[in-house]
Symmetry: C2
Subunit: 256 residues, 2 copies
Amino acid sequence: MGTTQLESVQEPKYWHLKTVLSEALDSDFAVGEILPNERDLAARFGVARATLRQALEQLELEGRLQRRRGVGTTVAPPRVGVAVSTDQREWADGVGSEAWQPLDSTMAKAPAPVAAMLGTDPADPVHVVRRIRNTQGQAVAAELLYVPASSVPDLSAIEAPSGPVRARSVLRKLHRLGLQGQDRSVELGSARADDAKELDRLPGAPVLVVTTRYFTADGTAAVSVATYRADTCRLTFGDSGALEISHDEQSERQAS
Amino acid sequence: MGTTQLESVQEPKYWHLKTVLSEALDSDFAVGEILPNERDLAARFGVARATLRQALEQLELEGRLQRRRGVGTTVAPPRVGVAVSTDQREWADGVGSEAWQPLDSTMAKAPAPVAAMLGTDPADPVHVVRRIRNTQGQAVAAELLYVPASSVPDLSAIEAPSGPVRARSVLRKLHRLGLQGQDRSVELGSARADDAKELDRLPGAPVLVVTTRYFTADGTAAVSVATYRADTCRLTFGDSGALEISHDEQSERQAS
DNA sequence: GAGTGGTCTAGACCACACG
DNA sequence: GTGTGGTCTAGACCACTCT
């Protein structure tokens, strides 16, 4: 094209675009404001729509934008800090303070890695409790709690065999166990189809997978696999009586 | 095309492809093995290269693949568990057990959010110590440690003004402070150009950003912003004397 | 039905690694 | 130089939401 481009940088267009957009977002847009549509934006910047989309994808990954099919692209609010409890006392609290909402409980085979952590036979079915975590009216996480039958013996068959009622009764039994410790890991993943639906995202959306192993004196009592929306969440770990201090400041620190 | 597709699923091609590839990886490929190139793969599956790439990108995000320009696509080893220390004692240890390698130390203005956490004026320069973390011969994280001058008073100007020597002297001074607690958060980000270089990734690569605030009785003594490679790392948090148990099992649990 | 973002195509050229 | 993944284009059609 034009020869006016002395800036023959070795920087990809989408990367440069992302920077420009990011700055525009800071200065010219308010949270919740809706951006021009992708075709217009692409035209305005003189790039193909695919290139523009590559920039938008990055910004969405960083929690700066929110895109919804059929609606548009909006400026995202700062990520919400979500406390990943280190607190022993309410590890499986069905009505816990942190708004975990039990959906149902079924018996199913645990995935191989989970079975390995539980120390159970991969072929043995375990209780699988499904929960959703809400924060500020938004679903931020979906969890599968794997509980070996041995952790919750004599769970009466009289009670509802599934549904929230059943889930709560499993959690209640679990809650009575003395928790000795836990073991946690965080990694990047992509949302399975069912998780995506609960989280109001498309399948494959980036999520932070928090795997927690709860153990008692007898060994591993349960394993939780919680998937948090990576676009909207910042996981916080309170280590030492650290109060939930308000860093309302955006945690934006990426982009070159 | 053909009408043989009774499977007129509403599933995107790239998603289905990803599933197929994922299964193929499990059964037909060994770790480190090199895949056919993208053009061949795309042809083999009868899709455009862009579509094939969308599937590969997802698999790379999930830590199943590793792609390197000019080289090829290989099967990635399971993610390494990287301990994010909750240990007070060696929080700023220059020669710590966890292989943090100090690179240099400079004076610079901290980003606004960091300055807010430090409680310093955003215009005031602070010490910025740059460190790299190696695990199993691989760079897994790059860190910027922001230390207000007030935390390390009387740092002699006689010592090297920059470089690893300087970095170590800042860390040494810091290490002598009594640490009272820390406060940590984890979120998804994308690698800045300089981080990407240290981590042997392209700019924009997904990273887990671990922000740690170290505080003493006097307030916040330092803030660390560490970016971990999201593709190869699983962050582990030992909560309760929990030994670094070997879950050699892959932590693959995504994909529908 | 109109407008949005999501998927897909079939090309092209570029930057990089390696022999 | 050759082959790889990375970027980019200019289209097309689809799925969804809103009115």
